[in-house]
Amino acid sequence: MLQPIERLNEQKENKMSHWTTIKTQIRDAGALTAAARELGLTIIPNALARGWAGATKESAYVIKLPGEFDIAVNRAADGTFALDADFYDGSVAKIAGEGFKRLIQLYGVHKATIEARRKGLSVTRQTMSNGSIKLAIQGAL
């Protein structure tokens, strides 16, 4: 009930609002660790990620999965972290989402929360019916 009234007040006061669309880039190992932890996974620095047919890949970080394959995390040429795994048997997608979408979503949630709290702002988290996660940030903005 609160939100529509707030919206109405904003219109009356002629305050502006804007929105920005962001393509997520993974740069913070701490936020990635928090995202992995929320999925019940552990992340290990400088380890070997398990891939197809017993192959392993030396990685800056490895997100350990309960199945046969892990998620390798390595720095790409542009300095961001790239995720890599074998999706063959579906075990990776089941936990991290197809194309790591679930993991990337939670990375965004944790990264935004960390940055807001660092500025002393309050963060309220809410999961929407369509699977989106909404963070309401308030304080000395």
């Binding site: 707030e6 904003e10 219109q11 009356k12 006061e13 002629n14 305050k15 502006m16 609002s17 804007h18 929105w19 920005t20 669309t21 962001i22 393509k23 997520t24 880039q25 740069r27 913070d28 989402g97 790591f100 979408k101 679930r102 990337i104 979503q105 965004g108 949630v109 990264k111 935004a112 940055e115 807001a116 500025k119 929407m128 369509n130 699977g131 989106s132 996660i133 909404k134 963070l135 309401a136 940030i137 308030q138 903005l141």
Partner: protein
């Protein structure tokens, strides 16, 4: 009341929505999140921003 909403979609896309700011304060309030989260692909200012300069607060009340 000033408020920033960050909506992180299930496909990993992020939308940052700022409410209740006037003028450049709005950009300032969300910039730290934009730069921390990734690359801004689209920016959109809602109509009330454009109206502000010409209408002023009393004109709409």
């Amino acid at each position: 009341m000033k408020r920033v909403e960050v909506i992180i979609d299930a496909d990993g896309g992020i939308k940052i929505d700022a409410h209740g700011f006037s003028g450049p304060d709005c950009d300032k309030a969300t910039r730290f999140l934009e730069s921390a989260l990734g690359v801004a692909t689209k920016k959109h200012k809602k109509p009330e921003h454009a109206q502000q300069a010409t209408q002023g607060r009393k004109a709409v009340q």
